[in-house]
Amino acid sequence: MKSRIHILLVFSLMLLLPALGHGQCKNFAKKVCRLELSPYIHDGNYNAAILTEGEEAELFKTFYAGQEYRMAVCGSESLPKVEFTVMTVDRKVIYSNASNGYASNWTFNVEATQQLIVVVKVPSAASSSDDDELCSGCVSIMFGLKIDA
């Protein structure tokens, strides 16, 4: 009987923990990262994931001519400073926040419509090799639009 109870307990937690991770990410994106976009208006899209130290994510997006954008890349406080790089489709680097004091946002406008790639990386923390643990946390990529009055 005990084993059945244990199995049930483990399954209940297994079912609920992913929702916990996503719920955390949603609130982080809404309550923390979105503020980074101000005064630009958030486009409404939700791009967030749980990343572990050393992991990367890539986002492909088309940016339209004449539009001014602010992008914000935010990582949970538990993570090392998140690096992000903006590249052309042929991987030429346009912007790297590592060369700009690890800024969490970047504002730009495009004169011609472009597809760009945003590469986000959670570096390995210097201390993590000592404590033998890798940290995971929410990383969110959000875009703001300049809307004329």
Binding site: R4, H42, L59, Q67
Partner: protein
Amino acid sequence: MDIRPSIYRIALVSMVVASLLSCNAQKGKKQGEHALRVSRDELYADSAMAANMQSLKQIFYSMPSPLETALILKRAGAGYNGSLLNSIDNVSRYTTIRSMALNLGIYSTDLSYASLFDQTQTTISYMAATKKMAEGLGILNAIDEQTIRHLEENVNNRDVIMETIPETFLNTNSILEEDDRVAVGSIILVGGWVEGLYIATSLVADPTKADKEFVCRIIDQKFSIESVIKLLEQNSSNEDVKAVFDDVLEIKQVFDQMQIVTSDIEIIPDSSTNVTTLRAQNTTTVNPTLFAELKRRVATMRTKYTS
């Protein structure tokens, strides 16, 4: 001994524990939320797994949101034509997951388009239509009565409208992701994107006489259709996605015949404004016959989705 009450009790305790964890997760950074710790031994159980970690890079394909789609239209010089919107009288027709998802996207673009042109009453009516679609999809908390009331009370406050609309999109997208229903989210985005394309192409009677910049923005959707295809491919095991995918391929066939030649990008930072300009030039060739074919296929697809 009947073990069922004990099992129920344990299950109840598990759910309460998990829900308490969820509540704690929302209390802010001070409690160290958003963090999970995994030991290296667990994560890298063997070297093969470590190698796989490198290749399991997460890839996102971000499509223009309904608000961005409407903004692109306005910035390129579109006027407002309310007759192009999908009538809110059609709401009751949409009863399947696919039709509700597509029309949630379609109504979202319509409401963004109306709001950017200060069509306040239409904005509120279309917000109510998106609420019905969202409810039909089981996304009950994305758009609530309070949201509609808030819009009605601030009908002349553009800031509130521009804050509320993207928040409802964000709620919808994040709830779907939370519920592991990303496929439905991708169909909503396709619906919104097709509606933008429909409104844009409908506003052009003759591409040779229309505003060149406006026509170029339409043809620029050739860039976005690649993301549409990739996004749908990521969810291709879903039957509704498969059906939509086939329709998108019909549009892609036309875009494949259109040419955009891109130049290198010159990066021009401006320290006074902190805004970087990406200077480049695209050369787009407009073939009126191809444009007419694009317009026809988009209209067919949109009629299929809204009828």
